[in-house]
Protein backbone atom coordinates (compact mmCIF):
# COMPACT_ATOMS: atom_id res chain seq x y z
CA UNK A 1 0.00 0.00 0.00
CA UNK A 2 2.85 2.39 0.83
CA UNK A 3 4.43 1.76 -2.56
CA UNK A 4 1.17 2.62 -4.35
CA UNK A 5 0.85 5.82 -2.29
CA UNK A 6 4.42 6.83 -3.13
CA UNK A 7 3.93 6.11 -6.86
CA UNK A 8 0.73 8.19 -7.01
CA UNK A 9 2.38 11.00 -5.03
CA UNK A 10 5.42 11.06 -7.31
CA UNK A 11 3.22 11.02 -10.42
CA UNK A 12 1.15 13.92 -9.17
CA UNK A 13 4.18 15.98 -8.18
CA UNK A 14 5.80 15.21 -11.55
CA UNK A 15 2.70 16.48 -13.37
CA UNK A 16 2.57 19.56 -11.14
CA UNK A 17 6.22 20.37 -11.82
CA UNK A 18 5.93 19.83 -15.56
CA UNK A 19 2.72 21.82 -15.79
CA UNK A 20 4.18 24.74 -13.84
CA UNK A 21 7.35 24.80 -15.93
CA UNK A 22 5.21 24.71 -19.08
CA UNK A 23 3.08 27.51 -17.66
CA UNK A 24 6.20 29.64 -17.42
CA UNK A 25 8.07 28.55 -20.53
CA UNK A 26 5.58 27.99 -23.38
CA UNK A 27 5.07 30.78 -25.91
CA UNK A 28 1.31 31.00 -26.42
CA UNK A 29 -1.93 31.24 -24.48
CA UNK A 30 -3.33 28.02 -25.96
CA UNK A 31 -0.27 25.90 -25.23
CA UNK A 32 -0.11 27.34 -21.72
CA UNK A 33 -3.77 26.42 -21.27
CA UNK A 34 -2.88 22.87 -22.33
CA UNK A 35 -0.32 22.75 -19.54
CA UNK A 36 -2.81 24.24 -17.05
CA UNK A 37 -5.23 21.47 -17.94
CA UNK A 38 -2.55 18.91 -17.13
CA UNK A 39 -2.03 20.48 -13.71
CA UNK A 40 -5.73 20.56 -13.02
CA UNK A 41 -6.73 17.05 -14.00
CA UNK A 42 -3.86 14.58 -13.78
CA UNK A 43 -1.78 16.16 -11.02
CA UNK A 44 -4.53 16.92 -8.57
CA UNK A 45 -6.39 13.67 -9.21
CA UNK A 46 -3.23 11.62 -8.57
CA UNK A 47 -2.47 13.52 -5.35
CA UNK A 48 -6.04 13.20 -4.06
CA UNK A 49 -6.03 9.47 -4.90
CA UNK A 50 -2.79 9.13 -2.88
CA UNK A 51 -4.48 10.89 0.05
CA UNK A 52 -7.48 8.55 -0.30
CA UNK A 53 -5.27 5.47 -0.17
CA UNK A 54 -3.46 6.87 2.87
CA UNK A 55 -6.75 7.55 4.63
CA UNK A 56 -8.36 4.19 3.83
CA UNK A 57 -5.32 2.27 5.09
CA UNK A 58 -6.56 2.03 8.68
CA UNK A 59 -9.99 0.62 8.00
CA UNK A 60 -12.80 1.65 10.33
CA UNK A 61 -16.00 3.67 10.09
CA UNK A 62 -14.67 7.21 10.63
CA UNK A 63 -11.77 6.80 8.21
CA UNK A 64 -14.15 5.29 5.66
CA UNK A 65 -16.41 8.35 5.91
CA UNK A 66 -13.50 10.75 5.40
CA UNK A 67 -12.32 8.60 2.49
CA UNK A 68 -15.74 8.91 0.86
CA UNK A 69 -15.52 12.68 1.25
CA UNK A 70 -12.09 12.66 -0.41
CA UNK A 71 -13.58 10.62 -3.26
CA UNK A 72 -16.28 13.28 -3.55
CA UNK A 73 -13.59 15.97 -3.88
CA UNK A 74 -11.85 13.83 -6.54
CA UNK A 75 -15.07 13.38 -8.50
CA UNK A 76 -15.83 17.09 -8.36
CA UNK A 77 -12.30 17.94 -9.53
CA UNK A 78 -12.61 15.36 -12.32
CA UNK A 79 -15.77 17.10 -13.56
CA UNK A 80 -14.91 20.71 -12.90
CA UNK A 81 -11.33 21.07 -14.14
CA UNK A 82 -11.87 20.19 -17.84
CA UNK A 83 -14.98 22.37 -17.80
CA UNK A 84 -13.03 25.37 -16.46
CA UNK A 85 -10.20 24.77 -18.94
CA UNK A 86 -12.64 24.51 -21.84
CA UNK A 87 -14.38 27.71 -20.74
CA UNK A 88 -11.05 29.55 -20.72
CA UNK A 89 -10.11 28.26 -24.19
CA UNK A 90 -13.56 29.17 -25.50
CA UNK A 91 -13.36 32.73 -24.14
CA UNK A 92 -9.84 33.08 -25.56
CA UNK A 93 -10.87 31.83 -29.00
CA UNK A 94 -14.04 33.89 -29.28
CA UNK A 95 -12.25 37.03 -28.14
CA UNK A 96 -10.21 36.71 -31.32
CA UNK A 97 -6.73 35.79 -30.15
CA UNK A 98 -4.72 34.26 -32.99
CA UNK A 99 -2.83 31.03 -32.24
CA UNK A 100 0.94 31.10 -32.23
CA UNK A 101 2.72 29.57 -35.22
CA UNK A 102 6.43 29.00 -35.68
CA UNK A 103 8.13 31.95 -37.32
CA UNK A 104 5.72 34.81 -36.86
CA UNK A 105 1.99 35.20 -37.28
CA UNK A 106 -0.16 33.29 -39.72
CA UNK A 107 -1.29 35.20 -42.81
CA UNK A 108 -5.03 34.47 -42.61
CA UNK A 109 -6.51 34.86 -39.14
Amino acid sequence: MDIAICILLGLGLLFFTGGTLGLIRLPDVYSRLHMAGKIDTMGSISLIAALFLNEIESFDMAHLLVGLKILLVLFFQFLASPTACHAMVDACLRAGLAPWVKGGQRSDP
Partner: protein, 91 residues
Amino acid sequence: MDTIFLYSAVFISLLMLVSLYRTAAGPTTLDRLMGANAMGTKTMVLILFLGTAFGRLDMFVDIALAYAMLNFISVLAASRYFLKRGLADKL
Protein backbone atom coordinates in the same frame (compact mmCIF):
# COMPACT_ATOMS: atom_id res chain seq x y z
CA MET B 1 4.17 8.64 5.68
CA ASP B 2 3.09 11.94 7.26
CA THR B 3 6.60 13.33 6.72
CA ILE B 4 6.37 12.58 2.98
CA PHE B 5 3.06 14.42 2.79
CA LEU B 6 4.54 17.38 4.69
CA TYR B 7 7.51 17.68 2.31
CA SER B 8 5.13 17.37 -0.66
CA ALA B 9 3.14 20.27 0.79
CA VAL B 10 6.31 22.38 1.00
CA PHE B 11 7.16 21.51 -2.63
CA ILE B 12 3.63 22.41 -3.78
CA SER B 13 3.87 25.78 -2.04
CA LEU B 14 7.16 26.46 -3.88
CA LEU B 15 5.40 25.59 -7.15
CA MET B 16 2.65 28.05 -6.21
CA LEU B 17 5.27 30.79 -6.01
CA VAL B 18 6.38 29.90 -9.56
CA SER B 19 2.86 30.05 -10.95
CA LEU B 20 2.31 33.34 -9.09
CA TYR B 21 4.72 34.83 -11.63
CA ARG B 22 2.32 33.97 -14.47
CA THR B 23 -0.54 35.49 -12.50
CA ALA B 24 1.31 38.71 -11.75
CA ALA B 25 3.15 39.31 -15.03
CA GLY B 26 1.08 37.50 -17.66
CA PRO B 27 0.84 39.40 -20.94
CA THR B 28 -2.86 38.65 -21.42
CA THR B 29 -5.83 38.80 -19.08
CA LEU B 30 -6.53 35.12 -19.81
CA ASP B 31 -2.97 34.35 -18.70
CA ARG B 32 -3.66 35.90 -15.33
CA LEU B 33 -6.92 33.97 -15.05
CA MET B 34 -5.12 30.74 -15.95
CA GLY B 35 -2.41 31.33 -13.35
CA ALA B 36 -5.06 32.04 -10.73
CA ASN B 37 -6.83 28.80 -11.65
CA ALA B 38 -3.60 26.81 -11.34
CA MET B 39 -2.90 28.43 -7.97
CA GLY B 40 -6.42 27.59 -6.81
CA THR B 41 -6.00 23.91 -7.72
CA LYS B 42 -2.66 23.77 -5.90
CA THR B 43 -4.21 25.48 -2.87
CA MET B 44 -6.94 22.85 -2.76
CA VAL B 45 -4.42 20.01 -2.72
CA LEU B 46 -2.33 21.95 -0.17
CA ILE B 47 -5.31 22.28 2.19
CA LEU B 48 -5.78 18.50 2.07
CA PHE B 49 -2.08 17.91 2.80
CA LEU B 50 -2.19 20.34 5.72
CA GLY B 51 -5.16 18.39 7.04
CA THR B 52 -2.97 15.28 7.01
CA ALA B 53 -0.21 17.19 8.79
CA PHE B 54 -2.53 18.51 11.50
CA GLY B 55 -4.35 15.20 11.89
CA ARG B 56 -7.78 16.76 11.34
CA LEU B 57 -8.50 15.61 7.79
CA ASP B 58 -12.26 15.31 8.46
CA MET B 59 -12.50 19.07 8.92
CA PHE B 60 -10.11 20.09 6.15
CA VAL B 61 -11.87 18.00 3.49
CA ASP B 62 -14.96 20.22 3.75
CA ILE B 63 -12.83 23.35 3.45
CA ALA B 64 -11.09 21.89 0.38
CA LEU B 65 -14.41 21.01 -1.26
CA ALA B 66 -15.74 24.53 -0.67
CA TYR B 67 -12.50 25.98 -2.02
CA ALA B 68 -12.68 23.85 -5.17
CA MET B 69 -16.26 24.93 -5.82
CA LEU B 70 -15.38 28.59 -5.27
CA ASN B 71 -12.40 28.33 -7.63
CA PHE B 72 -14.46 26.63 -10.33
CA ILE B 73 -17.31 29.15 -10.14
CA SER B 74 -14.96 32.14 -10.15
CA VAL B 75 -13.04 30.89 -13.20
CA LEU B 76 -16.26 30.10 -15.05
CA ALA B 77 -17.76 33.52 -14.28
CA ALA B 78 -14.60 35.43 -15.21
CA SER B 79 -14.13 33.58 -18.50
CA ARG B 80 -17.81 34.06 -19.35
CA TYR B 81 -17.37 37.78 -18.66
CA PHE B 82 -14.39 37.97 -21.02
CA LEU B 83 -16.30 35.97 -23.63
CA LYS B 84 -19.16 38.46 -23.59
CA ARG B 85 -17.05 41.57 -23.37
CA GLY B 86 -14.01 40.63 -25.47
CA LEU B 87 -10.43 41.31 -24.56
CA ALA B 88 -10.14 45.01 -23.87
CA ASP B 89 -6.41 45.32 -24.46
CA LYS B 90 -6.58 42.91 -27.48
CA LEU B 91 -3.43 41.04 -26.64
